[in-house]
Symmetry: C2
Subunit: 279 residues, 2 copies
């Protein structure tokens, strides 16, 4: 039996970096917490808690020590509060999110009406908006919402890093109809689309596909859906323990991929378990 | 019989302005010529020639006096030559074309790779390119040509003023895939689309449609084609003399429009001729 493990399986660059920074900070001899769970993985959050990293929801609840800022960033107000309380920030904001924050600020400073393509209530979006220093930012989910925007002298566009490129393209097309000048910073990180493209390729070669990640993880569920369209023998699992030997009847090639919040050790356990069936 | 004359029939803003400037300059007691025919209307060119405005093709052929720069502009090199030869320019460049020249220059100065949506050999396009002071400008006719462009750090887009908005939107969509930053100045003048939209509206109400303009005028031919799709009784004519009374059998409503290079007096003669059939 041949196993094809996707290069893009698991943590994206930003999540990996944030997790590493949190584990490293946890080694210091200092009180430490993270503002919200560091990533959407209970296993990782639990490991960090065992090393003393408490999860808190509000800056006001922190008395002293280090505060890990998670990968999708925080608002400018929260950052100011961290400094005001003499806490030490461990900035694990994804560098791609930081770019989106910086470009939104730049567009505001240069007089553009800013359009942010994304989900209104997402913490990343709330963070990006906060860096425009009170300027009005229109958050639009898609082309239809963009069509309701008023005309403006000049429009500047940024996107939540996890948006689809096609959505950004469509919103840009609508904004072109609403302003004589449109300036777009494509702040989308392609980790999601790269992972999906690789999963498609593997699903076409494999007799059986395993997609590893939380059942409540939107990106993992989407990944499993994409694979199932090409290979009906696709199984979405959270851990190696859920694998059933019966699935593997006549399987010559097994493909494995994982969502963005699935830690490496869970993927390794899955690979090990599948490899054990070869004997 | 009811006559509906399109508000947008005939000269656009830029052509009207250029013609007025040329006729006004012709009143000065000074040698005068135009660099190329002032507009694509033999009748207007003939009238100006009768007032002493010679058509010349190259700056080198002009000895002294005033030079009328036509609505779609000239190159920076030609303008420099005009000054070097101590000639007096009468700048009838359309203000919308001038904006496209200025924005192309601004984009180059700010380090953008400039993409110009338009026809490579058109004098307006050649003029716009010349104002980027030697920077490389990629002229693309459509989405397919844009797809062949290499990736760039940042792309700036301007359009030939007579391009369709949909074409600009499509090229912008392709460029978004080739650069992390895309800045678009929509330099399209909507005179053409407004004229076409009004012609469509009138053609739907009229029993007969007259489209006035040179048989060699691309925009008039296109206008006649659009009207014919909605009203098969559409006639493309150059002058009132070509109108045939037989066309008007049972016509209760006659629609009239004209291309961008059709002078007012020709339109007036057509209206007068049609009105005479009412008796």
């Amino acid at each position: 039996m041949k196993i094809i493990l996707a290069d893009s399986a698991g943590f994206c660059f930003g999540v990996k970096r944030a997790t590493q920074l949190a584990f490293k900070a946890a080694e210091e001899n200092c009180p430490i917490c993270s503002l919200g769970p560091i990533i959407h993985s209970p296993q990782v959050v639990e490991k960090l808690e065992n090393k003393g990293v408490k999860v808190v929801e509000r800056v006001e609840d922190i008395e002293a020590g280090m505060v890990v800022i998670r990968s999708h960033g925080i608002t400018a107000g929260e950052l100011a509060d961290i400094h005001a309380r003499n806490l030490t920030p461990v900035d694990a904001t994804c560098p791609f999110v930081k770019k989106a924050q910086d470009y939104a600020a730049l567009l505001c400073a240069e007089g553009y009406s800013v359009v942010l393509v994304g989900e209104k209530d997402h913490p990343e979006v709330q963070g990006i908006i906060s860096y425009t220093r009170g300027a009005e930012v229109a958050v639009v989910a898609d082309r239809e919402e963009a069509q309701r925007l008023p005309n403006k002298t000049k429009i500047g566009i940024v996107a939540q890093t996890t948006q689809s490129f096609e959505n950004l393209r469509q919103v840009t097309g609508v904004c072109l109809d609403k302003s004589k000048e449109v300036r777009v910073f494509n702040t989308i990180c392609d980790a999601t689309s790269v992972r999906q493209a690789e999963a498609r390729k593997i699903a076409q070669q494999a007799d059986l596909m395993l997609v590893v990640g939380g059942f409540n993880s939107a990106n993992t569920t989407r990944l499993a859906h994409i694979c199932r369209e090409l290979q009906p023998r696709t199984y979405h699992i959270e851990t190696a323990a859920q694998i059933d030997l019966l699935w593997f009847a006549d399987a010559k090639t097994v493909g494995i991929t994982a969502g963005a919040s699935t830690p490496r050790w869970i993927i390794d356990e899955v690979v090990k378990r599948v490899a054990s069936f070869e004997n």
